[in-house]
Symmetry: D2
Subunit: 448 residues, 4 copies
């Protein structure tokens, strides 16, 4: 690790213990300043094993360099909180331009596909930027009583930073995959599943065999994004949901059955993309010496047959489901089931805190589906659209979610690189159907 | 018109009287053979004023040459009906390849963006192909009692041909617009509205001020596409729908208010497209001598302030609605209202049979919205997705609709280039949100 | 042939006898008005077998639709001659824009890659345009004594039209090749060679075994392009030139020896292009039923082993020469030899007047190389650059040649689709090294 | 500077004194081992002020990351010398693939435009690679008597490394220019000229007013590239050469006279490029606060009116010359003059050893042109083609120069970022005519 990175392993929060309780509600939650410190520290802890050079590279336009993520998350606090503090002086005059992602309301942005052309500011300067922002945020957060907007925006900023923690991991995986040397972020991570995946079973949706109205969207006092609101009733036809995600060995059957050669299984756009880009397997799969291997954050690994298949597009998920005689769940079906889970399922999910950084085989739960939370983001069959009555927040903050409600599909449940404290049953993630570099997977559903 | 085109104006069905009753149900409907003749004749009648050269050009990959449409619609009957007739010999060995659009189940297809590179078969040969198919279809349709599949597929083929009639018109408009000579298909068409548009009013959705469950999807015995099924209940929150489409003069206010310069009004993908392509107005608008003009199938025309704005993308429709403090209706809201219209509204709509070939100002209806059917396709806020329980037909015919359920938005209501007999309240049209060359427009909705 | 094309076979000049003596000098030459009529008539005669639709298509940006060529050549006379005639009114206000190729000095031009998007003006209108121009040119040319500029520009216009006659043929070949129906312009043309090619022999350059100074460039009173001037001395090292062009069977040996798989034979740009575009053989070659065939203006034909290989890029010519232990001649070496040929060699060359429209096997000439004139354009190893002291003509006419002296290679000798009266030993043709759709071939040279 | 870069300023060769006499002939030259050490040390010295992140970025496909240059130059010695040493083991199994530039004869190469995607090997590992190679080369060079091939290839490797030293500088300039922070490699470099440029005068070519034969190509015993051979006679018409390069203020006149708006001054390809890319001035010029500035290796600087204009394409050089009523010299004219210069002109030229890293105003030499060597590479009017009788070396080494003889123009004379010991009058540099990021400039010539 380059010397100029301003924290040493000893002072960093251990990855495993850093369940920063950002989202928890009620009396037990940490003071905001503590949550701030823990989330900010985790971002840096995730980068501990990176070399200085690793922070710089952008392997495709969708990917951002690690140092850009570290700077942009700081820019968020600077822009939406510190800029209003009397007497605050920005760390650097150009950073407002360089590290604005897409907030037109704040100002123009450096061209996104060129983020990897910037060798400066250096990694050390970015860490200095973080220190500067942390210092001023520390002062700001000393007393937040009666300062609802500060609390609200800081909380948003912390969830924003948690999203970028996941982006740091999925982006660096893509960077490393583009390198023939196949570097590993954590050579010790991504171990194979310790036990086989249980057989797939089906669970009825909450309404049983009848159609029913379910309330969908965030409820309660805790944090949520605006796109999870307003909570509203949705009419669901009877359906069943699979007990776990589709595994690598199941997906391999699809491949070996000619799945990638059978046009009738595919959406038209998916088939066109498959042919243009030569897709034959999930993104990070590779045949070596007669067997399938997979690039992980722990390096190249033989494919774990019991782990959930990961890194496939919506098109592949949809084609697999059709081949299997099933379909993808709607985001409403998914949420209706997830809302019935006990709170403990969240705690034992495979999230970033586990340190595995890769999905692993499901356990068989007696009375409910497993793996809904953690392991892989599950592609739904729902387009990402506003809930009835949705209104984004006023001002530039309103650009956070609403303007992306076009050409994207909803994913649910979080993944092995998501923070436990970042996810909830009503959480709506979204990506274009072609995206494969997030930790995306499949769970089947079917009409009852 | 080149002499080799094998029909003369005298023998052609007059455009105005050709309401081929393909879709009507019950005793009054024409025998299938008559419907076949009328629909087929209309395709050729629409081309009467074309020069031979006009049939050849493909102005962008989404557009097909007129002669391709005339051949492909014949290919449809040949492939899905005549091929099963014992002893039938295809007109030409290569046409199965050249005029297959996207049916992978039938076989490979000539590369779509290259359709405009084919000078052969000639226009005359394509008309000969039509004659050949008509001859054999005539024999096949002589007696269709007890031959349900023939009736079903022929009916589908006629609706398919009606869709291509609309494509012929919207594609040739694009071809002519690309030509600095600005040719007109019908110099006498596209006259300005004879009276001002009535003021915009709001109508409550069917459930009034309460949420309610509506049945959505096709009902009854008549023809529909598979994507309109199964009919199913949908829960609607209270809403209001505008009494008519947005007019050119209203849209002009949006432009003059800086609509195309105000990023916060736009979906992110729309804003990116606007900047990349330099959008400043709907597709066919052009400033000349200080005033706005519009390319129509009747040639360049001064903008009719009272006519519905036409040829805009979903992004522009959505941005306009946001600017107006409203939103686009969902496809379910739209259908719930349209299902309540009297049958006479369909008859007096502005469809292809009117010969106007351009939208015109709405009339004020006392108790219900006007213009829902005809004039312009209305962008909904709904992504094009399968209805719960949807299953495409088996075999290659199943590729008709289902495989396109990705990255598209639903449009409703038909347009001034749609056949009256082709449209119905449950009809779901779909285009990518960037499409501007169909006859697309906007109707506003809002929460009640 | 569409009826509207305003000439009938009987009134057209027969292709074989139409050696319009544009370029001849001295007393025997035709009056200019006669030359004008003959050249103009040949352009139309070449199109006699085209269908109306064939005139419209542009199969790649470098290709122009036939009707564009017919109009542009008329535009040339209208712009550079008739526009100066008092009282002359242009045929159509938009044609100055539509049919200007690249003369910035005249005005802006319609976007070249979009020429195939124009269905109008129709073919009939273009023939009317030609008639209009011919009428006025007829008047202008009635008496040209003392009107040197008229003579000069008309002569240039006729040579210009002859170049476009060749372009009409090579462009329509490309259009037809893009069509799976593989239409033939002249089903009777492109017959195989009647006798084997003679063995390849070597001829010493004019200076024999010593270096020597040769004068290069146009000499004498006849017409030439500005790029053939000024005549100037060039120092040549001793060299030898092959007795004929490389044949198909010789080129096949190169292919079968792995020529397209051996990077060391290729210029770096050529190797990159070969890999990007998947080149495995000359442009129009195709394997069918185990044997090589070739698309010609007479349709698909089995490869003639004795005919010169045609339709290859400079890169392929250069790689072949390297494989053969030889090299391409410089344009100066080529001209030094060609200047020594008897005038009769020009007359018996395989030019457009032969009606073959395809190269054919060489005859063995006793004392000199064969096929230097006609059959195929021969790639030289010389970049297309100005001769010392070169100055283009003043004004827009000066854009004819000079501004293209960049990134192109010189070709020499004319081809089977060139007019006899258009070619001469000092003639410099030029194309980018990647061009394959002209009638390009190879002759070898080597150091003595 | 990151700690892991394995040299400190004190142990590095001072930039100013490092005239490594690679190319000198005769008794006075250094032993090869000394030359090796000096050249290798200079590569690292040039990078002294770089941050670790700067080594990683590739700002366009033509540019390579600094660490790639440092590794590739080592790969050259490893591949062409050490690989033949019995018992030598390559430093890393993948480096043969990663750091091969374009030698197909050696093996496949990592995709060039992706060099900037590689964060690994790290900078420190690349320096370790250099040490490893230096160690083994040191052993190999201890005694080179009777080992001509080792001497020859090592000498080639050192000239190769000198070329990459220039590439390191021109590439990093491009990287820094793409960064809105506009970093400077050497904030103290690129000072303005201390005195005005002398008036432009004209010198006759060596043959005076008559045509004459000159010998062109390398002569003598010293090192040269194969493309400078064989030496051969060339016939030159009388010409004159300008006394110095075109200055910024002269070029500014061209701009202000509408040079970039006047199509008739431009080659067709250049005009198309100007319009596509929006060229309005040389690459690194920028208007700020009403005056022109220029990005240099010393950072942004007000334009020095007396310095030679630099960073323009062949198209701009050619257009300027046409505007000025002159032309570019051929490479033969240039060399004929340069061959007459006294050896001292080389010594006092503005080369990399001056530390200026930017061109500076010419001095007026009494009897001969100034600035022929150093300051800027001078675009000639000659295409880069083989000399008569040219043969590349056998084997992969033969790919060094010969295969690039296509689509490139010759540049002569070296620049302010070239080593003194790397240049000579017969040296032929080459770039595509569109290249602007090398240190390219213009010297005028004219017919006498």
């Amino acid at each position: 690790m380059p010397q100029h990175v301003p924290h040493s392993p000893s002072s960093s929060p251990a990855l495993v213990s850093s369940r920063a309780p950002v989202a928890t509600e009620g009396a037990s939650s940490l003071p905001l300043i503590e949550a701030y410190r823990q989330v900010r520290a985790l971002s840096e802890a995730l980068c501990q094993t990176l070399e200085c050079e690793d922070y710089v590279v952008q392997s495709m336009p969708d990917v951002s360099p690690t140092k850009w993520h570290l700077a942009h998350t700081s820019w968020f606090f600077e822009t939406f909180l510190l800029a209003d503090v009397p007497g605050y002086r920005p760390f650097h005059a150009s950073f407002a331009f360089l590290f604005n992602s897409y907030y037109n309301g704040v100002g123009p942005q450096f061209h996104r596909p060129h983020r990897g052309l910037l060798s400066r500011p250096t990694v050390a300067e970015v860490y200095d930027y973080r220190k500067h922002v942390d210092l001023h945020m520390g002062t700001l957060l000393e007393d937040v009583s009666d300062r609802d907007e500060v609390v609200e925006r800081t909380t948003l900023g912390l969830h924003h930073e948690q999203q970028h923690q996941e982006l740091i991991l999925m982006d660096i995986a893509h960077v490393f995959w583009n390198n023939p040397l196949r570097p590993a972020l954590r050579p010790d991570a991504a171990q194979p599943s310790s036990a086989p995946a249980p057989p797939l079973r089906w669970f009825s949706g909450p309404a049983g065999k009848d159609s029913g109205i379910c309330d969908i969207g965030h409820a309660g006092a805790g944090f949520c994004y605006d796109n999870e609101t307003p909570r509203h009733p949705v009419l669901l036809a009877p359906f069943e949901l699979a007990s776990r995600c589709v595994t690598n060995s199941e997906y391999l059957e699809f491949i070996e059955d000619g799945g990638y050669d059978t046009s009738e299984l595919w959406l038209s756009d998916g088939w066109a993309m498959l042919r243009d880009l030569g897709w034959r397997a999930p993104l990070y799969w590779e045949r070596r010496d007669g067997g399938w291997h997979e690039m992980t954050l722990g390096g190249m690994r033989p494919l774990d047959p019991y782990a959930p298949v990961v890194h496939l597009s919506h098109y592949e998920a949809d084609a697999y489901a059709r081949w299997a005689g099933a379909r993808l769940p709607t985001e409403f079906e998914w949420e209706a089931v997830a809302a019935t889970l006990p709170a403990t399922d969240l705690e034992r999910g495979n999230f970033v805190e586990s340190g595995r950084l890769h999905p692993t085989a499901a356990q068989d739960l007696d009375d409910r589906p497993a793996q809904l939370l953690g392991d892989v983001w599950e592609w739904s069959g729902s387009a990402y659209l506003p809930y009835p009555g949705y209104h984004p927040a006023p001002g530039a903050i309103g650009e956070y979610n609403g303007k992306f409600m076009s050409n994207q599909m909803v994913l649910r449940g979080g993944s092995c690189v998501t923070s436990t404290t970042h996810i909830r049953p009503s959480y709506r993630n979204f990506f274009p159907p072609s995206a494969r570099w997030p930790f995306t997977g499949v769970r089947l559903a079917r009409d009852a």
